[in-house]
Structures are given as structure tokens and as C-alpha cells.
């Protein structure tokens, strides 16, 4: 289970047809849960751990976890984007709860909450 979507934090980007996590996953692994409308991951075993989904979620509702084969349950690694968008701070918590932070230069481009898809009208669109 490399990436976990916390349903309590996901607001579906206010009903976006095509929210950023859906757009940014190179493996097309995010979809709307037909029952709840929240975003779910289609198939965790297909995940590449590349993390664009985690970094782009405005709610920080997506958490990256190592699969259990690779690491133990309590450690965490969470990226936070600065308001200036030119730094990213990674918050690392090890299995004993020790917190470490890394602030690294980057250039985070703004991402719209929704985006039209070529050849698709809003009416016939469904994830």
C-alpha cells in the first residue's frame, strides 16, 4: 500500500471532474469511488512511489507509505510545499517518533484544481 488517501481529509477538490491527483498519477491509478465520490487508489500494487500525487494534493490528504515488505508501519515522510512555491520541506519521522526536517530548493508550478480533457465534453465525462 504505497499511497494512502485519507478519506476524512479528501474534499474531492470541491467536486472537480479531474482533480490534481488524478491528473498527476503517471499510472492512471486514482479514480472516484462510485459510492462516496471520494478519491481512491485503483490498484496499490501498481504504484511506482513517485509521489506527484502526494505533493500536489491541496488538502495533504494523500500519504505515502512504504509497502510492508519494505518498511515498518510507523515511519512517515511528508512533503510540505512552502507558500512561495520555491522550497519543499520534507518531514521525516522514524519508527521511534524522532522528527527530522529537510528544506530543499525546488520550483513548484501552480496546478489548477480541474482541467478540461481534449475531445471530452463535461457531460459525457466520468472517471
Amino acid at each position: 500500500m504505497p499511497v494512502v488517501v485519507h478519506a476524512d481529509k479528501c474534499n474531492t477538490c470541491h467536486g472537480a471532474q479531474n482533480p490534481p491527483c488524478v491528473r498527476m498519477c503517471p499510472g492512471d491509478l486514482f479514480m472516484k469511488d462510485p459510492k462516496t465520490g471520494k478519491i481512491i487508489m485503483r490498484d496499490p500494487s501498481e504504484c511506482w512511489d513517485c509521489l506527484p500525487c502526494v505533493k500536489v494534493c491541496p488538502q495533504e490528504a494523500i500519504e505515502f507509505k512504504l509497502s510492508y515488505q519494505l518498511g515498518f508501519h510507523t515511519a512517515k515522510l511528508m512533503p510540505h510545499i512552502h507558500d512561495t512555491r520555491d522550497f519543499i520541506t520534507w518531514e521525516l519521522i522514524d519508527t521511534k517518533g524522532v522528527v527530522d526536517k529537510f528544506t530543499i530548493r525546488t520550483k513548484v508550478l501552480p496546478v489548477e484544481l480541474d482541467e478540461k480533457v481534449e475531445g471530452v465534453t463535461a457531460v459525457d465525462f466520468s472517471i
Binding site: W48, Q69, T74, A75, K76, L77, T95, I104
Partner: protein, 572 residues
């Protein structure tokens, strides 16, 4: 299945790093041409760079020249490369790197503003957002972007590529894109062999698991000439996470050691450069230690300071964050404990090794109207990110010139309807409630055949004539099964075509491995029946061409030409 028909001057298939640079170059050099990118995912985060990069691994640092680069790449590829391609690519590193820096890529500089070298050919970057940066540049110049359109085949009219057909995984529409010239830039192929990790981490692979060899397969189906598939890429990676080791080996100068603490590369492989031996030997060396009972093998990082360990983590966060989480989750401190390494499953790529389309110096393939750039283009290894940029630029210049001289071809309607029927079959199998097989089932079957008979990790990447013949026979039965594949939705349909493409790549690969009766790249493809490098008979390229009418794969050779003088087995 509705049809969207689009006419464009140039079609670029694959919006990764090569495709984006090609689009920008085209619009800058030929502002009147219309350019369309067909991309299977979303261009902002697709392909190999989705997660980011922490270095430009092919760059001419002060004191180096295109010729010295060719010498190094030739040495690293055990004496055989397309020197014309490597030369033309390296001449454009500076142009491309400066360009992308201008778009906003942070490159690490010293106080004087010079790039900081990391080894002979590397510079460090903060490339977490590299992909969105180049994607924005491609959009800003006015490229039309078709996101989520999976390319399935070229439109072939009278032996010329006149565009391509794909389908949208968002609404199932068929996209027919007619183009005067086409650039293929889809990347290489992962998923041909069994992955290192199983279960919920099966895609914890080094190479992008969503690069499935579509570009190769489309070319093979159309009868394009392919080269050097037998030079498979097998990387030395950090165990379990499959994180790149260059960050450690080059970043903090860590040597390889075996379980006895012996620096085996420095002693046993001294004659070919020790820890600086050609890349295949840096996988072959540790593999032999493990095979002979002196594993596990490590990169010895115990000499580094806590600050260096921290810098190492920072570097990984730009590109491979799971490495940092792995250390935290397993209570590992790389400054106190050496980092265990292992080799990956084989990948078929043109960016690290040289598998791909046989191209001329303008990156024109053997098919009229078709150009290839990046991982899908063969003959020029050691491309990495900047080489893919350079090839995108070269292909763009040539394709732009060609497109001005020709008109759109008339595309017969039967051709489109035949491809539509082929594309949609797995969905129809589901709606007609037929009994069948899931794409994943076929993928696992393919991987098992390749793993056991065609030199997977479990067999130490070793092959021989007899095993390869079994692989050939087993693989030959898979295409007969394509008609039973079932796709429940459009995501499944994409996976169905991915596995169909992978099978074709695997069949071609086996023909290549059967033909080269020597061991040119130990560790990448070790032949147990022809164990030595044999310059007398095999200093040449092994190429294949599949006959579109019969499906027969013809194997033949092309000569190697030395352009840059010097000992081909020396790095300088």
C-alpha cells in the same frame, strides 16, 4: 467508440523529456508548423521523470569534449556504440541544459556561478519539478497536448508513417492523428521480466513501470529496423527500494564490498577500471560475489560524516524519497551501516543501454516520415536526461524540415476501422461476457517465461541457446491468446494493450539474444555457451526487422564504424 480526427504537421508520441524538448524546438525553428503531443498519462507528470531527478548525468564538464565523451561511452559499452549518434548528441548538451535552466530548473552552482561537477559527466540539480517545468515550456510554445491518449499503432500509407492512432482512457474515443512527420518518444520497456519485489510492491522498480515498450512494439509491427535489444539494462540498485546507487557511489565515493569486507571491484576488476569499470561489470562483479557465496554485497558508506549522510538523504528526496523513508522505517543510518545493493530485473532501453530504433544521424528511422528520440532510439547509450533532450532537438529539426516538403497522406477508412476493431476487442470480450484472461494474468505468464528461459534475475541473467529456444517457443503461443484478453474498463484496456506490446518486444529480444553468439556485456546478457567477448566476429550491431505481412522476424548485422580514434576499451 467515437472518433476524434486531428490533423497536425508534426505528431510527437510520448510527452516525456525527449518529446517536450522536441516540441519546443519545433515551434521555435518552424513557428508555422502545428505540433501535437500524444501522451498516455498527463504531460505534467508522465514518464521516467515523474518523481524528479537529482543530477544531469550526461554533461561535458570543463576539460571534456564531445570526443572525450564518445571515448568514455564506447568504453562503458564494451567497445561498441554508434559514435556518430553519441557525438551529435553530446554536442547539444550545453544548448539543452542552458535552455532548461532558463525555464527555471535549479542547478547547483558554486560561488562563481559555475555548475558543480559530480564525476566527469554529472552535475547536480534540484530536479524535483523537472517534469512540470519542461511540460510547461512545451505548452507555452503552443503545442496541442492530447493527454490520456494511448498510442496503439502508426498509420502506415504506402510505406510511410502518416500519423498514429490511439484511444482515450478517459472516454474511450479513438484518436486518429494525421501528421506529415511523426516523432516517436515513448521511452523503453519495463515489465518484460519478473519484478524484484512481489505483492504490494511489485512496481517498486527502477525504470518507470508505465513505459511498457509501446513505441518499440508499434515500430516492430510496422516493420521498422531495431537494434541491440540484446544489450539489456540491468542496474545495480539499493536492495528492496531499487533506488539508484550513483547518488551514493559518486556522491560520497563509496566502494563496493562483499560480505567479507573485500573491495572486490578494486582487485578482481582492476584491469578494466576497478570501481570505475564499465557499467555492466559493476553489476556483473557483485553478482559473481553473490553467486560464489560471498554475498550480500554493499556500498561501503561507513566513512561518511553525519552531515554527508544528511546530504545524501536530501539528494534522494529530489528523486527517490522512498529511500529516505526506508532508512527511517528500518532504523538504518548509512553513516554507520553499509548500504546493501542488488541488481534489478532487465529493462529494454535506449537511454542507458542502446536498444531501440536503428536511426541515422538525424534520428530518422528506417521508415519514411518517422523519427525517434530518447529511450526508444537505439545505438546511443549514456543519454540519460540531457541526451534525450538533445535527441528530441535533433529529431525535431529533421522532422520539421521533412514536414515542409510533404503533404498529408490519404488515409484509407478500412485502415482505421481495422485498428479500431483490434483496439476495442478486449472491451467487447467483457461486454459479451466471454470467458477469458486478464491483462495481469498474461503479464505474469510473460514474466515467468522470460525470467526462467531468457535470462532473468533468478538465473543470474545467464542465457544459452537451448533455454532461449524454449523461450521462443513459449512466447510464440502468447499472440494466439490475445483474442481472449478481457478488459472491464478503459484502464484495463490500456493494460491489455501494454501486455500485447510487451510480448512483441520480448519476442524480438529473444531473437537478438539468440543471434549474438558472444558475451559482450557480462551481467547484462551472459551467454554460458559463448562466454568471451569476440571482436573478430561480433564487432557489429545485431538488428531485426519484422515482416508486417508474415510476422517473421529477420535478424541481420550492421557494421560498427569507429570515428573517434583511440583504444576502444579505454575510458580516455
Amino acid at each position: 467508440m467515437e472518433q476524434n480526427v486531428i490533423e497536425t504537421d508534426i505528431l510527437i508520441i510520448g510527452g516525456g523529456t525527449a518529446g517536450c524538448l522536441a516540441a519546443v524546438e519545433l515551434k521555435e525553428q518552424y513557428p508555422n508548423l502545428s505540433v501535437t503531443i500524444m501522451e498516455k498519462a498527463h504531460i505534467d507528470r508522465s514518464g521516467c521523470l515523474a518523481g524528479g531527478m537529482n543530477a544531469i548525468n550526461a554533461y561535458l564538464n570543463p576539460g571534456e569534449t564531445p570526443e572525450s565523451f564518445v571515448k568514455y561511452v564506447r568504453f562503458d559499452s564494451c567497445g561498441i556504440v554508434r559514435e556518430d549518434l553519441v557525438l551529435t548528441m553530446s554536442e547539444l548538451f550545453e544548448y539543452c541544459v542552458k535552455k532548461v535552466e532558463k525555464w527555471g530548473l535549479p542547478i547547483l552552482c558554486d560561488e562563481k556561478g559555475n555548475y558543480i561537477p559530480r564525476g566527469r559527466w554529472n552535475i547536480k540539480i534540484n530536479g524535483e519539478s523537472l517534469k512540470p517545468i519542461i511540460a510547461r515550456a512545451a505548452k507555452n510554445v503552443g503545442t496541442k497536448i492530447l493527454n490520456w491518449v494511448v498510442a496503439t499503432n502508426y498509420i502506415m500509407v504506402n510505406g510511410r508513417v502518416a500519423g498514429a492512432i490511439g484511444f482515450s482512457i478517459r472516454n474511450g474515443n479513438l484518436f486518429v492523428v494525421k501528421a506529415k512527420a511523426t516523432i516517436i518518444a515513448t521511452g523503453g520497456a519495463a515489465g518484460i521480466y519478473k519484478p524484484n519485489n512481489a505483492h504490494d510492491a511489485q512496481h517498486k522498480t527502477w525504470y518507470c513501470p508505465y513505459n511498457t515498450g509501446a513505441g518499440f512494439a508499434m515500430g516492430i509491427r510496422a516493420g521498422a529496423e531495431m537494434t541491440s535489444f540484446e544489450m539489456r539494462y540491468i542496474g545495480l540498485r539499493v536492495k528492496d527500494t531499487i533506488a539508484p546507487t550513483g547518488t551514493i557511489a559518486l556522491g560520497v565515493g563509496a566502494p563496493q564490498i562483499n560480505s567479507k569486507g573485500e573491495k572486490f571491484m578494486a582487485t578482481k576488476y582492476a584491469h578494466i577500471g576497478g570501481d570505475g569499470a564499465p557499467t555492466p561489470y559493476r553489476s556483473h562483479g557483485p553478482l559473481q560475489e553473490i553467486k560464489e557465496g560471498r554475498g550480500p554485497v554493499f556500498l561501503d558508506t561507513r566513512h561518511i560524516t553525519p552531515q554527508q549522510a544528511r546530504d545524501l538523504k536530501s539528494a534522494y528526496l529530489d528523486m527517490y524519497p522512498s529511500m529516505v523513508l526506508y532508512w527511517a522505517a528500518n532504523e538504518i543510518d548509512p553513516s554507520k551501516e553499509p548500504v546493501e545493493v542488488q541488481t534489478t530485473e532487465p529493462y529494454i532501453v535506449g537511454g542507458h543501454t542502446q536498444s531501440g530504433y536503428w536511426v541515422d544521424v538525424n534520428r530518422k528511422t528506417t521508415i519514411e516520415g518517422l523519427y525517434a528520440a530518447g529511450d526508444v532510439s537505439g545505438g546511443a547509450p549514456y543519454k540519460f536526461v540531457s541526451g534525450c533532450w538533445a535527441e528530441g532537438v535533433i529529431a525535431a529539426r529533421a522532422a520539421g524540415e521533412y514536414a515542409q516538403k510533404v503533404e498529408h497522406a490519404d488515409v484509407p477508412a478500412e485502415l482505421i476501422s481495422a485498428e479500431r476493431d483490434r483496439v476495442i476487442e478486449p472491451i467487447l470480450n467483457f461486454t459479451h461476457k466471454k470467458e477469458g484472461i486478464k491483462p495481469y494474468d498474461m503479464e505474469v505468464r510473460l514474466q515467468k517465461i522470460m525470467e526462467e528461459y531468457a535470462g532473468g534475475a533468478a538465473t543470474f541473467y545467464e542465457v544459452n541457446e537451448e533455454r532461449l529456444l524454449v523461450a521462443r517457443r513459449r512466447l510464440a503461443t502468447l499472440p494466439e491468446q490475445f483474442k481472449y484478453i478481457i478488459a472491464e474498463d478503459l484502464h484495463d484496456l490500456m493494460e491489455a494493450h501494454e501486455v500485447i506490446d510487451r510480448v512483441l518486444v520480448a519476442q524480438t529480444l529473444v531473437e537478438h539474444m539468440l543471434f549474438r553468439k558472444e558475451t559482450r556485456w557480462p551481467g547484462y546478457c551472459t551467454r554460458t555457451d559463448y562466454t568471451e567477448l569476440d571482436d573478430q566476429n561480433w564487432l557489429k550491431f545485431v538488428n531485426t526487422r519484422r515482416d508486417p505481412a508474415t510476422g517473421n522476424i529477420e535478424v541481420f548485422t550492421r557494421p560498427y564504424e569507429q570515428i573517434v580514434p583511440g583504444d576502444r576499451y579505454k575510458p580516455r
